[in-house]
């Protein structure tokens, strides 16, 4: 073995104990067979080419189902969410009958936006009045009033607001610009079965932040799709999670990995005390780190058992979760743009949205939710905040990612960079790009010279 190899090889480790498939009747834990993918470089031009961005828009963004918002945010008829995807703005509206419909957020008169981004309500009017000339639409997109209609010799445009498909699952509203989409549940397969055991409807939104990041949306998706960067960017997490014993499962278009939390990475030495990040896990489970006298390697299992024993008394229903779900990070990518950190007591969604016209920018949405124990008063949902890259802290770990990504994006443009060199720990990145290619190029595959 040469010196380079000696310095570079990954550390040996004892596998972390995991639940067996038969002990997880709800969320499947079977290892999915790894997809047979090549080891070629991934073309870096995919991250900044405007032509590629356009191709993504035409063949992918306008075809897939996208997360629009949370149903609980629009409980009453007339409540609405305005969300943006690329150059489009979408108006999601709670109907009089309790259903939800979605429209392009654009007045049929002169193209004005009916409402700005965010959550709101029509109030008692139950109509959307365009701020420009006061064209007014009903909740189902029809015309309510067009001022001076008699001065339009041609009458009114045939249809009202341009409607798009929308549906709900998991307490969220989803929409698609695809005029003949596959059903939402079919698109999400096989994840509904994975995620339904979590008590998402019992969680309150604790963060709702949008940051404009100076990188391509895929640069961000990639960053959350591998644990290899933990030793580089997040060294403190090596005293918190096992970055090497990670089960990767790739499905038809979505993928996931399962990361043991509450344990040490084999990259660090056994410390003389319980690391503060692991103490946090213990404390949130109701354990006292000062009263814990067993080896650090036992903590993950003990936290699982403690939560199993005391969850119900704490008003937390863990009955449909397996033991590993009580500590670990079940991390999903819902193609194309949702990175989910799913835990027994909280649920984080990072939504990556392309910029309207600049492939070197994106919108990074942080939506976090926390379980509200039974019997506790339902707290106010966090208000939405938005700012630009680096203006404010979004927490140590995400700040570390945020600081890193612009330089990665800049490097993509370099003549000295020959493409992404992807390893086995980064299999999800390769799978993600393969799924993207399936949308862009179809069954024929990438044409010669295609990015």
């Amino acid at each position: 073995m040469d010196e380079f190899w000696q310095r570079s090889k990954s550390p040996a480790f004892t596998p972390v104990p995991r639940v067996r498939p038969q002990d997880s009747p709800h969320t499947p834990v079977e290892k999915a067979p790894d997809p047979q993918l090549d080891t070629n470089v991934i073309d870096q031009r995919r991250y900044y080419s405007r032509e590629f961005m356009q191709l993504e828009w035409e063949r992918m963004w306008s075809k897939v189902w996208l997360l629009g918002g949370r149903e609980a945010d629009i409980p009453e008829p007339g409540d609405y969410i305005v969300t943006e995807i690329g150059p489009e703005s979408i108006l999601i509206v709670r109907q009089r009958d309790g259903g939800v419909r979605a429209f392009y957020n654009v007045c049929q008169h002169r193209g004005a936006r009916l409402r700005g981004c965010g959550i709101g309500t029509t109030g008692e009017s139950l109509t959307f009045k365009c701020p420009y000339h006061h064209w007014e639409y009903t909740l189902d997109g029809g015309y309510h009033r067009i001022p001076d209609i008699d001065t339009f010799p041609q009458g009114r445009p045939k249809k009202g607001l341009s409607e798009i498909h929308c549906d709900t699952w998991g307490g969220f509203v989803w929409y698609t610009l695809n005029e003949s989409p596959q059903p939402l549940l079919e698109f999400l397969e096989p994840l509904p079965r994975h995620l339904e055991p979590y008590n998402m409807h019992k969680m309150v939104q604790t963060r709702d932040i949008t940051v404009e990041w100076n990188c391509n949306w895929k640069t961000s998706v990639d960053a959350f799709n591998e644990t290899y960067h933990v030793q580089g960017i997040h060294p403190q997490l090596l005293w918190y999670l096992h970055d090497l014993d990670v089960q990767i499962d790739c499905y038809e278009r979505h993928n996931r990995y399962l990361i043991p939390f509450g344990t040490l990475s084999p990259r660090v030495r056994k410390p003389p005390a319980i690391p503060e990040p692991i103490k946090t896990i213990m404390k949130s489970a109701g354990m006292d780190p000062a009263d814990y006298d067993r080896p650090i390697s036992q903590i993950r299992r003990d936290v699982q058992q403690h939560k199993r024993a005391h969850g119900a008394a704490q008003g937390k229903d863990y009955s449909r979760l397996n033991d590993d779900q009580l500590t670990d990070d079940y991390h999903y990518l819902i193609f194309p743009n949702l990175s989910l950190n799913v835990h027994a007591d909280d649920f984080w969604i990072f939504r990556q949205r392309p910029h309207a016209h600049d492939p070197d920018r994106m919108l990074y949405d942080i939506m976090t939710f926390e379980l509200v124990p039974d019997g506790q008063e339902w707290p106010q949902r966090a208000e939405h905040k938005q700012w630009k890259h680096g203006d404010k802290s979004i927490g140590l770990v995400l700040d570390q990612d945020a600081q890193n990504l612009p330089s990665v994006q800049a490097g993509m443009h370099s003549k000295g960079f020959k493409g992404l060199w992807i390893g086995a720990q980064e299999l999800r990145i390769r799978h993600f790009h393969k799924v993207l290619d399936d949308y862009l190029y179809g069954p024929q595959g990438k044409p010669p010279g295609g990015l």
């Binding site: 403190q236 005293w239 660090v268 030495r269 410390p271 003389p272 005390a273 503060e276 000062a290």
Partner: protein, 253 residues
């Protein structure tokens, strides 16, 4: 300078890692017979094997010093195995922690009680020695505030006061008692490595407080402990030696 340590018998608690490990290494090099413990039998065995390479008698056994009876029994076995005790270094600590009231119980039982029980149990042996000496390992966290108001800091302060008082009490029997208060000491697997990894801001802050910009090593503490413990340090009794590379800022008149 001859420290006069050759042939002496030392009992050191918590001696398989860090400062304790460096102390027994230096003692062994100086020809001191050693009894040591830690909580992990495997670590004890490894350390015993390593020390025996210096051709001294080494006794080692795992014990949890928090278990008073087991610990006192261990101390007696240690003194028997060595055929006496000239030097006692109570070094085990429960470490820092600001989690709950349990930290106070733990630091009291581990840091304070294990020291007191050790001194009391071994005093008959130390009195018989011609160079009886105790060096209690305290901390600069006792002499200046640092971090949070945690039990570790206050219990280390208790140890310094105890060392001073005990020195008065047993001095007439020829036993010297002193304490050594290390500042931040960095070593692989130590608490400052953990802090550097998980709380880099605190680490950087501590480092900035040290004029030469470097934390101490266990070997540097060991050399000071060895001197204070040795017959060469015969004039020292009731002292608290701050070994911190200028980390603390107070003037100690």
């Amino acid at each position: 300078m001859d420290l006069g340590l050759r042939g002496k018998k030392a009992i050191v608690t918590g001696a398989t890692k860090g400062i304790g490990r460096a102390i027994v290494e230096l003692f062994a090099l100086e020809g001191v017979d050693i009894a040591l413990c830690s909580r992990t039998q495997e670590d004890v065995e490894t350390t015993v094997q390593e020390l025996r390479r210096h051709n001294v008698n080494v006794f080692g056994q795992a014990v949890n010093v928090r278990d008073g009876e087991a610990y006192k029994a261990w101390l007696q076995s240690a003194a028997s195995a060595l055929g006496g005790c000239d030097i006692f270094i109570p070094n085990v600590s429960a470490g820092g922690g600001f989690d709950s009231e349990k930290n106070w119980t733990k630091n009291f039982e581990v840091d304070v009680l294990h020291t007191v029980r050790g001194c009391e149990t071994l005093m008959p042996h130390l009195e018989k020695s011609s160079a009886g000496s105790i060096v209690i390992i305290a901390s600069t966290n006792a002499v200046e505030t640092f971090g949070v108001p945690q039990a570790f800091n206050a219990m280390k302060a208790a140890l310094i006061t105890y060392a001073k008082q005990l020195a008065q009490h047993v001095g007439k029997k020829g036993v010297r008692v002193n304490s050594v208060s290390p500042g931040p000491i960095y070593f692989e697997g130590g608490s400052w490595e953990l802090i550097k990894g998980t709380m880099p801001k605190l680490y950087d802050y501590a480092l900035r407080q040290i004029p030469c910009g470097r934390m101490g090593t266990p070997e540097e503490v060991a050399r000071i402990v060895a001197f204070v413990a040795s017959p060469a340090g015969s004039l020292m009794a009731g002292s608290n030696v701050v070994a911190d590379n200028g980390f603390t800022k107070r003037v100690q008149f």
